[in-house]
């Protein structure tokens, strides 16, 4: 699971309604008719923005403009249902097209190295912040905000100075930066990016696009966000796994990997590749896994069509090997997989665990290989997968 990104229209709505951030007028459309109606209501040229959680929407053609309601309907019918980088467009955000005078950048992010919140501003916006940093570092300012003491006026002054705005807009920019910082803290955000922040021809300062990521660990205090978070299809399995208490990541190969503990799962994945195999996924059943969890994990791994062999690498510490073995046996008995299972079980109650597995595998008709080290297991799994 990745940090949770909110769809643009939701992020904008939250920032506008709760924090007073100025955003373009706009509404969500799910049909061409709705898009036309919104364009009609706005009474001017519009931008139709596909509500998908991928970067580079503009370049990919997922953001288009229309100068009349009829054109808005036509563009909407072209965008809705289309797939960009694996994401289906189900909603469009139709908003007024701004008359852009200048594009700026304001962002807040978590700085894990400095253990602080980074306030980043740039007098040039509209592109990736890393790109700005590379091409014109002199336009970028990065300030470290101490999480215990927060944002002070001198931070805001320096940031606004960097934006080099005329006086009235400079005041507005100060208000915006304070509002964004407040949102960052209150929403448990990991990243808030207003890019571009547009200075319009009529002198308004408007958040033309917003990216907002919230910390999934903090959702317990943001129940209201849970209902608005939309999961992409690619994340569906990962999401399902996390609801079962499993950490799961899909990869490209054909060796299914199941281990306990994140580090161990990563090490197993690396080892499989090192001996010539190709990992199909990463599945961590966590510490202290019960037989029930193991059973569900096996079920999940078997939903992968590309998996040709499963390698289970369990180091029982808190997790008891006999418990894991029972889970494996129950799962295999119920699912009767047609692919081989390579199982390495070591640690707490190892003998009992291995005995349970060996007894079951005899006469089960299933291809179960019990190995004693992870190296041996990885090699065998890679070999059975046939590259």
């Amino acid at each position: 699971m990745r940090p949770l990104q909110l769809q643009e229209y939701i992020a904008k709505r939250i920032l506008s309604e709760r924090y007073g951030v100025k955003i373009p007028r706009g509404e969500v459309a799910e049909t061409p008719e709705e898009a036309a109606a919104i364009a009609e209501k706005l009474g001017r040229p519009v931008v139709l923005k596909s509500q998908i959680l991928v970067g580079g929407r503009g370049k990919a053609g997922a953001i288009r403009t229309a100068s009349s309601p009829e054109e808005a309907a036509r563009v909407a019918s072209e965008l809705l249902g289309r797939v960009f980088k694996g994401h289906i467009v189900r909603k469009l955000y139709v908003e007024e097209k701004l008359e852009i005078e200048r594009e700026l950048y304001v962002g807040l992010s978590l700085d894990r190295v400095e253990k602080a919140i980074a306030l980043i501003v740039s007098s040039e916006g509209g592109m990736d912040v890393e790109e700005i940093a590379e091409k014109s570092p002199e336009k970028l300012l990065r300030l470290k905000i101490h999480p215990l003491y927060g944002l002070w006026d001198h931070h805001v002054r320096r940031a606004v100075q960097k934006l080099s705005l005329p006086d009235p807009q400079a005041v507005e920019a100060s208000t915006l930066i304070r509002a964004l910082y407040k949102a960052m803290v209150e929403l448990d955000a990991e990243l808030i990016e207003v890019n571009p922040l547009v200075l319009t021809a009529s002198g308004e300062l408007v958040a033309a696009d917003v990216r907002l990521f919230v910390d999934d660990y903090a959702l317990f205090r943001h129940r209201e966000l849970e209902s608005v978070i939309e999961y992409t299809q690619a994340d569906a399995l990962e999401r399902m796994a996390s609801e079962m208490g499993l950490n799961y990541v899909k990869l490209e190969g054909n060796v299914g990997i199941l281990a306990n503990g994140a580090g161990m799962a990563m090490a197993t994945m690396d080892l499989v590749q090192f001996v010539g195999g190709r990992p199909a996924n990463f599945l961590d059943v966590g510490g202290g896994a019960s037989s029930e969890v193991v059973e569900r994990a096996i079920e999940l791994i078997l939903t992968h069509e590309s998996v040709r062999v499963v390698f289970m690498n369990i180091f029982g510490g808190i997790t008891r090997c006999d418990e894991v073995a029972r889970g494996i046996v129950e799962a295999l008995r119920a699912l009767r997989p047609s692919i081989p299972f390579v199982i390495r079980l070591t640690g707490t109650n190892e003998e009992e665990g291995r005995a349970i597995l060996e007894e079951f595998s005899r006469g089960s008709g299933l291809a179960i290989y019990v190995v004693s080290t992870m190296e041996e297991g990885a090699k065998l799994a890679a070999q059975l997968a046939g590259g």
């Binding site: 990745r2 253990k115 660990y217 903090a218 503990g261 080892l271 180091f315």
Partner: protein, 296 residues
């Protein structure tokens, strides 16, 4: 000698009445750890495996002289438990809890810094002074001590540490202190802090660093070692095959943009003269070799 915890460390267990805590308290007691008190608001007077329970950390400290704590409190209440421990004046706080919001972790980190409290974790398997005391949830059977010293181990991952240490034990390499710094993005201790501790400890003859993708803790450690670390160091880095942008189980194990890849970490170590094992077994073998050539 060992670092961080020893036979005189007096431990209070926060959230002692929970199922997990109670299980691990038994194991820690059996290992010889001096657990002197437990805390669970509203449960004063109860006992867990003979350990008296108090309503607050302050009370526990006053009545038992505790100087360290281990936190098993669930994520929503764990930051509060941590602040309470710091305010009660404890020297060392081990935060086992997983899933603490990162903004809370930032506050915990700086609060600890300000008060001089050492925070281990969050999301850590704890700290094990092999054969002496255990403040954590590690399967102690995988670890072994050896006369004349051994290797100090510091890691971002639990199970992987157990695995590598089991290999070390089988190869006859003893461990002195094993420290899990935690799998989250913000951790109380980083590798450099622990390297400094191991440098001071006479019994620790070498160091094994177990890193993973995400952040720059490994690169910082490599820089520190290159400046002239006296003892041999070996590293292992998990996540060579991890795709960018995905959280690999740990909140801290995520490749962010172009940063935090296993490749850059391995390169940093190798440039600092630190051998990097490509597999957990190879890492253990490299440690054995490094210590042996040191003895000669």
């Amino acid at each position: 000698m060992v670092v961080l915890v020893n036979e005189s460390t007096r431990v209070v267990v926060q959230g002692i009445t929970g199922r997990q805590a109670s299980f691990h308290v038994r194991r820690m007691l059996d290992y010889g750890t001096k657990i002197v008190a437990g805390v669970r608001p509203g449960k004063r007077g109860e006992r867990v495996h003979g350990v008296p329970v108090y309503d607050s950390v302050e009370e526990a400290v006053k009545e038992t002289g505790a100087n360290a704590s281990i936190i098993f409190v669930p994520a929503p209440a764990a930051p509060d438990a941590f602040m309470e421990a710091v305010e009660a004046g404890l020297d060392l706080v081990v935060v086992i809890t997983e899933g603490i919001p990162v903004h809370d972790e930032l506050k915990m980190y700086w609060r600890a810094k300000e008060s001089g409290t050492i925070m281990i974790g969050p999301n850590t398997p704890g700290v094990l002074s092999v054969g002496v005391a255990h403040l954590g949830i590690m399967p102690t059977g995988a670890f072994s001590r050896k006369e004349g010293g051994g290797v100090g181990v510091v890691s971002r991952s639990g199970t992987l540490t157990y695995q590598v240490c089991q290999y070390l034990s089988r190869l006859g390499v003893g461990q002195t202190t094993v420290i899990g710094v935690g799998g989250d993005r913000i951790t109380g201790l980083d590798f450099v802090d622990v390297l400094e501790m191991f440098e001071e400890d006479e019994e620790t003859k070498g160091v094994l660093l177990i890193g993973e993708i995400g952040g720059t803790m490994e690169e910082e450690a490599a820089k520190f070692i290159a400046r002239g670390f006296e003892k041999p160091v070996v590293a292992y880095v998990a996540g060579v095959t991890a795709p960018p942008g995905k959280k690999m189980g740990h909140a801290g194990a995520i490749i962010e943009g172009r940063r935090g890849t296993a490749e850059s970490k391995i390169k940093a170590f190798e440039e600092a003269g630190v051998p990097v094992g490509r597999t957990p077994l190879e890492a253990a073998e490299l440690v054995k070799r490094a210590l042996e050539s040191r003895m000669k």
